[in-house]
Structures are given as structure tokens and as C-alpha cells.
Assembly symmetry: C2
Homo-oligomer: 285 residues x 2
Amino acid sequence: MLYIVGLGLADERDITVKGLEAVRASERVYLEGYTSILMVEQQRLEEFYGKKVIVAHRETVESSSDEILRDADRVNVSFLVVGDPFGATTHTDLIIRAREKGIPVKTIHNASIMNAVGATGLQLYNFGQTISIVFFTDDWRPDSFYERIKENSTLGLHTLCLLDIKVREQTVENMMRNRQIFEPPRYMSVNLAAEQLLEIEDARQEHAYTADTLAIGVSRLGSDDQIIRAGTLAQMRDHDFGKPLHSLVLVGHRLHLLEAEILRENAIDLDSLNQVLKRDYNIEK
Amino acid sequence: MLYIVGLGLADERDITVKGLEAVRASERVYLEGYTSILMVEQQRLEEFYGKKVIVAHRETVESSSDEILRDADRVNVSFLVVGDPFGATTHTDLIIRAREKGIPVKTIHNASIMNAVGATGLQLYNFGQTISIVFFTDDWRPDSFYERIKENSTLGLHTLCLLDIKVREQTVENMMRNRQIFEPPRYMSVNLAAEQLLEIEDARQEHAYTADTLAIGVSRLGSDDQIIRAGTLAQMRDHDFGKPLHSLVLVGHRLHLLEAEILRENAIDLDSLNQVLKRDYNIEK
């Protein structure tokens, strides 16, 4: 059996009881290490599971799926994914390969940012499509998210923005010399995401959002030191959200009173939040 | 401490390790019993937790929040919610009450249909807003979902349809006599949801969808006997999805090749699915 096990949001105890049983019954345990990160070290996972954990980087999963699936028709193999297994497309391929080989697959679900973002107080059914924001470089500033945000915003829907993670970056030199040397991991902050968003709005001027648009910054969701703060996009650019992982939500115009009440509890600055709620949402205290 | 603990999708072992520790450390354990259901009996939860579980119906949570929160500044109280705690608004109120009383609140997240629907093979970032379909009665046939589906469909986005659950229905007579006698629980099937959807399309004729629209029926997601089947809305009206809980997804036009491939694996009828994929999505095998 191939178990695809979601690890949830924050630490080793966010795995489900069912997931933990699958891991402990597995002969080999892989940890997918490229689309997200858990906020604990690999060693803590290994101690908790009582199992060695093999980190599977993108190149491993794509080129060595045969190795991952080896004997999985006879023994149990677990493939661990931060969040829920279906947060990313990358495992779909592994599942299809397993089915081709006649290996039974079982998915064990868990929380991911896609549903836990409800912790912001915004109603999940008022969210439109989710977008991703990647690190801009000097000559690559992809802004396809802009159209998506505009579509959501036109309908009055909230937008969850997933922020870029770079965990296995190589310098051009190391890449050309085929040296497996990697740069320190980088995680996009709410500050940088807000800055990039505002840069694109400045360039396009179609008012998908502005520096005054209401937003919610989220960091380390599901951990004991999670931060959820509401304010304008300009405030998101400046407020310190601490260590990664960060996410950002743009608040749409279909905002209920109950949602607004929770925004107030999480306000970076209550006076300015109340002003925006009155001006843009016609919501008064 | 008030713990709001997500139970996940299917059975008692879908709770997280962190959630189980909270429950076992709690003096009182409440189970929210009105917005969703777990697929196991309360007794199995009690045996697994080693704790008595008090079912909190809507009227209990709304009128007896003082009782639920009693002494929670000194002892631990757990409030269990099927899926993720933020799937429904109803607990928001309890959290606000707790904060007013100075009671610390900790949320323990879990999977819910809102993210686990990725198991259909559709990408979560291609979903628009989520809608709910309630049981039609002779004189109450609310169709506000229609506009929402149309908005999603115009953008090419998928729509997750949450289907109605009636767990504490009273007959008019019992209600008038104030007798706490309840009808057997009812859960909307994929069949009935498709039928109601098509009735509204027939009445409105704005082509938000048709009997030929591609859809995915889901039942008992996350359990060992889950069913995920793709076909037209007409097929959804007739295909047997077995026991509850059911959900329905309408497939939008922004369908990737990889998503289509998984639809094929889950086809009710592969030939007709391929025809629809070719005709409506320009996707050929």
C-alpha cells in the first residue's frame, strides 16, 4: 500500500492518528520537501514516528518514482506531504504511476492553508480562486495573478494569496557546473508580497486593489505563535509578521458584519480599520 | 483553555494527535452536532477518547454557551467540530464569547471538504466560491446558488456544492406543541442535488449549466468506501452514490489536461465523458 499522508500545518503532532498509524506501519517513509515546509526539524519527525524519514526533493519524486514505489504492492510505503496531500499537483503523478503498477493507494487528509484560512474570520464560501505570488527577479516579474484578483474583486470575493517558497535554489554557476550546492531557503514575507502586489497595480492601474485595500496577513498558521493581523495593503507592506510561513488574504466587498467584527479584533490599527470599513464596506461600528 | 478541535472527515482516528491530547486533557468534551456529521457513532468516539461526549445541538450552543464555557479559565474544555473548526460560522460566536470572558482559545485544525475536495483530481486554485444547496419544499425553493454558479462558470472555475443536512427536524405539529420529538436525519444525495440544479436551470434558462455539464459526485470522502465519479449532471441525477455524506462539484472550463486525465479514471461512462471533454473542453485523448 502507498499511503499519501497529510501532515497538517505546524508540527509533528498535527498528523492524524490514522496517519501516524500508517507511518508506523510503513517500511519506508518519504517526506515531500519542495512545495511547503513544516515548522519543525526532520529529526523531530523521526523521533516522533520512530522511523527514518527520507526527504524526497522534486528531482527524486520525478525521476525516482520507481524507487519510491518499490515493493509497495507487498509492503507499506508512506509519502508525507505538508498540509493536505492534494494541495499541490506534484503527487498526482505519483498516484497515477502507482495505479499503473497496480499498487493500492490510500490518502490520509489533513488541514491545509486552503481551509485553515478560515481562522482569519473570513467565511470560506466567500473566497474566490486562490493565487500564487512568486519572487520577482530583475527580469522576471510574472503578474498573471493580477487578472485573477481582479476577477475575484469584481465579484466581491476574498482572495487567498499563497507566497513563494524557494528551498533548493542553485546559483547559475553551481547549476552550470552541475554542483548540488543550494542557497539558503527563502520564504516570501507578507511585506514583500504586498510590495509586489502594489508594484503591479501601479503598472496596470486597473484598480484590482489599491494601497487602501483591506487585507489580512497570516504567519505560522496553526502554531502556538501564529499571527493574524488585519489592515490595509500599505500596512501589510510594513507590519512585522515574524518568521515564515506567511500568507496574505485580500478582503472582498462581500464582507459580513460578523467577518468585520473579527477583523476588528485582529486590527493592526483599529481607527484606520474602522475608517476603511466605513468608507469601502459601509460597515459602521 | 477552550480547545476547538477539528475531527476531520470520516472516523474517530481522523483526529490529529494534538487534538486527541487536548480531548484527553479536557474536563468536559462537547461535540457540535448540527452542521455536519461524522460517519461513526458517538459511542465509538467516547471509547476512543476515554471520555464522555456531550452532544451540543444548535440550541445548546446558542443558549448555553455559559455552560459550555463554565470554568474554562481554570480547566480545559474541548468543543469538537466535524471537519475543520472554521468550516461553519457557528463556532465564531462561541470564540467571541470566550474571548469576552478572558478564556484562552486554541484551535486545532483538520481536513474538511473545502480542501479534501482536491481528491477529485481538480486543482483547488481553480475553484470559485462554494455554494450550498438546501432541500426544496413545496413552497420554499431557494435558488440563490444559481447566480453564484453562473459567476464561477463565466470565469471557467469549478464550483463545490455543499449538500443539505437535516438532523433535528420537527414536524409542524411537534414544533407547535413544543415537543422535543425529531424526525429521522436526512442527507441530500448527489441525485437530488442534480435534480434540483436542473429544475432551476429549466426555470431560469441562463445556461449557468445544463444536463450535459461535467460534474463530479463524491460520497463519504476520506472513508475506506469513498466514491468519486465523474460524468454529466444528467448522470449525477441517476448514479447511485450509496450512503451519505454526499457532495457535488461542477467542473469549470479552465480544465487542465492532468485534471481531465483523473476525471477519465473516475468516469461513470468513459465514452460519454470523452465526448464531453472533446466537445466542451477541446480536450482529446
